[in-house]
């Protein structure tokens, strides 16, 4: 076995096998209007959070954590690429058309993922809620009657599994760490808690698609996700916030404070130099 020696190394690398957005595009899978609008919601959530997390790069509290947050951001960007590619198939648009050339009121992200990074405690609070929600969502979307959505969910599930673990580990440590870390973790939860409820609102067209077993009904995620969030928060010695859900939980952006600023930064290059490549 001549390859044995060269394989005996910790630096042997490979790309591995996994579905890519390019393969999805060339597969010719085409979404209908309602499914595309659903995929757009899921894709926009991931895209906005990826953009927010990306801002931590070079600013995280430790080099190791910088890479962890960067990895998570790229995973989320990957999910967004899949969902936007699939959504675009209904309208003859590419992922880039949808990411860079839609305006504020055309995005369908929840406000939770648009919240600013704040300190590390707030970012972890946002990560905790979103990753627990996403984990539950994808674990059910793998059974979708829509094969493409099921395949995307299958790919994403392994990744959000890790995001969830990363967030829960930090909540435990910050909650049980010093007085200051406990205070900041609790404050982070309080800051974002008003936007939890929006994740579970059955906006159009999820109800109709859920009846056809294509989408996961958001309200059906409330019970299991909240139960698991409460457990992690309480085990970390923290308190589940009692904050009312913010008004206007409809993903339209009409009540979103941050969306426009995120898009301004995210889209500026593509709009100033349309078609630019590098």
């Amino acid at each position: 076995m001549s390859g044995f020696t060269s394989q005996d190394s910790a630096t042997r690398i490979s790309v591995g096998q996994a579905i890519t957005p390019e393969e999805l595009r060339s597969s010719g899978a085409s979404a209908d209007e309602a499914t595309a609008r659903y995929a757009l919601m899921l894709g926009d959530d991931s895209l906005m959070l990826a953009q927010r997390l990306g801002a931590w790069i070079s600013r995280a509290p430790e080099l190791e954590e910088d890479i962890a947050l960067g990895n998570i951001a790229l995973d989320l960007l990957g999910h967004a690429r899949f969902f936007l590619t699939y959504a675009g198939s209904a309208w003859g648009k590419t992922e880039d058309d949808l990411a860079y050339f839609r305006d504020e009121e055309e995005f369908r992200s929840v406000r939770l993922v648009e919240q600013d990074n704040g300190d590390f405690g707030k970012t972890i609070a946002r990560q905790l809620i979103f990753s627990f929600y996403a984990r539950e969502l994808y674990s059910r979307l793998v059974d979708s009657a829509d094969e493409t959505l099921a395949a995307i969910a299958d790919k994403a599930l392994k990744e959000v599994d890790y995001h969830q673990d990363h967030a829960a580990q930090w909540v435990r440590r910050l909650g049980g760490g010093t007085e200051e870390s406990h205070r900041r973790m609790q404050a982070g939860l309080e800051d974002v808690w008003a936007y939890v409820e929006e994740l579970f609102v059955d906006v159009d067209p999820t109800t109709q698609l859920a009846e056809a077993d294509i989408a996961v009904l958001p309200s059906s995620l409330r019970e299991p996700v909240m139960q698991r969030l409460r457990t992690v928060i309480e085990e970390a010695g923290l308190t589940v916030p009692e904050v009312k859900g913010a008004y206007g939980a409809d993903r339209t952006g009409r009540f979103s404070e941050h969306r426009g600023y995120i898009l301004a930064e995210m889209q500026v290059l593509a709009r100033q130099h349309p078609g630019a490549t590098w």
């Binding site: 910790a10 430790e62 190791e64 890479i67 673990d165 909650g175 870390s181």
Partner: protein
Amino acid sequence: MPDKTPEGTEEIPAGGVVATDPADRSAWPLWEVFVRSARGLSHVHAGSLHAPDASMALRNARDLYTRRNEGTSIWVVPAAEITASDPDSKGGFFESPQGKAYRHATYYTQSEGVPHL
């Protein structure tokens, strides 16, 4: 590294060692990372990193050293727990076997009448 329970928790996070003062980031201990690239092979030293405790060290190692499918298993070891040989005693430690051909099987001639050796 003394075990220490952070205020407010009943037990040390899984993995054991906690930075002496969690607020002092420079106090995060150093960990050595070993990655096994495939089943049947040995764990090989890949590098080192800082982490507040063992289970976070494992996660950081996953992020830093298995980004390109390098591994099927990771070990992390507190760097302080490794006893290393002294580079200054290289001569006595590693150069003395030089020239001792009789320690190699090829030094010996094959006896006649012993097949399959």
